[in-house]
């Protein structure tokens, strides 16, 4: 396997060396797992394989749609491209996000999702509005959602599911919940006192579903 891969990369190099006088890489050349491809490279015919991640079908043929390494699965007949570039982040179940609570209703809190963990340097494509249902706020029973979240809170949450148009979030874990909150009366940052939050300015006491590292600066 390794032997054959090496031979193929050599022959490919000889094609690329002649940049001046182009010898075109044969589009029908057999592709193998581990080959490097760029967008538009031919991978397989649609009769043989199903396009997976990083591949797309066009006129009965499968082409790469990203820069990376080919992955041929002979058993499931799936051809995908494992990306070597970091693409746009996509929200999937299991991911951790940081967001801002926009609105708190009786049953749900709407959250504007700012970043996905692991993709801190990249903005999210839309839709980026998630909801936390009252049953997903913490492990126990929640009587009033307004005692857990207030609009303007910065929270850490886990993505439960992200289907077209609706992103469901959960904060039912120790490290999930509010990481920064402000006083609803005077907007100064609240300080933690055991399980309560106290305003250093006006003495107002509030309650939240706190993350274990409330206001410790970590995302």
């Amino acid at each position: 396997m390794g032997q054959s891969r090496k031979i193929s990369s050599e022959s490919e190099d000889s094609n690329l060396n002649s940049v001046g006088l182009v010898v075109k890489v044969k589009p029908m050349a057999e592709i193998k797992t581990g080959d490097f491809v760029v967008p538009g490279d031919f991978l397989a015919t649609a009769e043989e394989f199903v396009p997976g991640e990083g591949a797309h079908e066009e006129d009965g043929k499968i082409y790469s749609s990203c820069t990376g390494v080919v992955l041929l699965d002979a058993r499931t007949k799936r051809v995908s491209v494992f990306p070597r570039v970091s693409g746009p982040p996509s929200l999937k179940g299991g991911g951790t996000v940081i967001g801002r609570v926009e609105e708190v209703r009786d049953q749900t809190a709407n959250v504007y999702i700012g970043v996905l963990k692991g993709h801190e340097n990249r903005e999210l494509p839309l839709p980026n509005l998630g909801t936390v249902h009252i049953s997903q706020v913490q492990k126990g029973y929640v009587k009033d959602l307004h005692h857990q979240f207030r609009s303007g809170d910065i929270i850490r949450a886990r993505v439960l599911s992200a289907q077209m148009g609706s992103i469901k979030l959960s904060t039912a874990d120790d490290e999930l919940g509010v990481v920064v909150a402000t006083c609803s009366r005077c907007r100064t940052l609240l300080e933690r006192e055991n399980s309560k939050l106290k305003c250093p300015n006006c003495g107002n006491v509030e309650f939240r579903k706190l993350a274990s590292d409330y206001r410790q600066g970590a995302l």
Partner: protein
């Protein structure tokens, strides 16, 4: 510079190239740290940077499209990029180039995957010597691939033209200025689609066919260089290197 008497002497151009020869080309992917994707292209004396951001939330909101993403392009020339200082900011020319660049790149993107979002492309010309729009498109295509945005194919672009009654590849500033015709072309290499074709000057039908054919061959060279740039940056290197 004075107008030279002839632009082609003994089959050689002013800079010593053959008619169908391109200027030296250098492409580098992923040069900007803070951009989502970026590329740098040097084509002779041209120096062009392209940066890609997104797909991200579109502002202003009324420009969002509920069904697809929007591609936004900005082609900009640095004030120091030309011999006489250029007044900074967008002008008639750069607004037009931004538009044709956007239209040259749109066919290779899966914009429908990111409804209500925007993909921003910024092309900055640091040094200009004719053919900056084609260098910009070439750089932007590599930058889009560097950003990991799903694409059908790359886009390669080069200019052809007519000087001294001869069809030549990749005009320089002098050739553009004193020549008869300048024709930038962008091509989607795999399907051989033309996604940009502009012309300044005139060609007969026969000349046009030869020019377009030459542009296709030029774009193939550009395409191989684009591939090589991505390969150098992202291919898994054998161990011990």
């Amino acid at each position: 510079m004075e107008k030279p008497e002839k632009l082609i002497i003994d089959g050689k151009r002013l800079d010593g190239r053959a008619p169908e020869e391109m200027r030296p080309l250098k492409i580098e992917a992923g040069v900007l740290k803070r951009a989502d994707g970026s590329a740098y292209v040097e084509l002779g004396e041209n120096k062009v940077l392209a940066a890609v951001y997104g797909p991200r939330e579109m502002h202003p909101r009324h420009l969002q499209r509920p069904d697809t993403a929007v591609l936004r392009c900005r082609y900009n020339m640095a004030p120091f990029s030309v011999e006489e200082r250029k007044r900074p900011g967008p002008d008639r020319r750069s607004v037009e180039i931004s538009k044709v660049t956007r239209q040259a790149l749109e066919p290779v993107l899966f914009l429908e995957l990111y409804p209500r979002s925007v993909i921003d492309i910024f092309i900055e010309v640091l040094q200009a010597d004719a053919g900056t729009r084609t260098a910009g498109i070439t750089a932007a295509a590599v930058a889009l691939a560097d950003a990991g945005i799903p694409m059908r194919d790359l886009v390669s672009s080069v200019a052809v033209g007519k000087i001294d009654d001869m069809i030549v590849l990749d005009l320089t500033k002098e050739e553009d200025q004193w020549g008869t015709t300048d024709m930038p072309v962008a091509i989607v290499p795999r399907k051989k689609l033309v996604s940009l074709l502009q012309m300044d000057g005139n060609l007969t039908e026969e000349e046009f066919k030869r020019a377009l054919d030459l542009a296709f061959r030029g774009c193939e060279q550009i395409y191989q260089a684009q591939r090589q740039a991505l390969k150098e940056k992202y291919a898994i290197k054998p161990e011990g290197e």
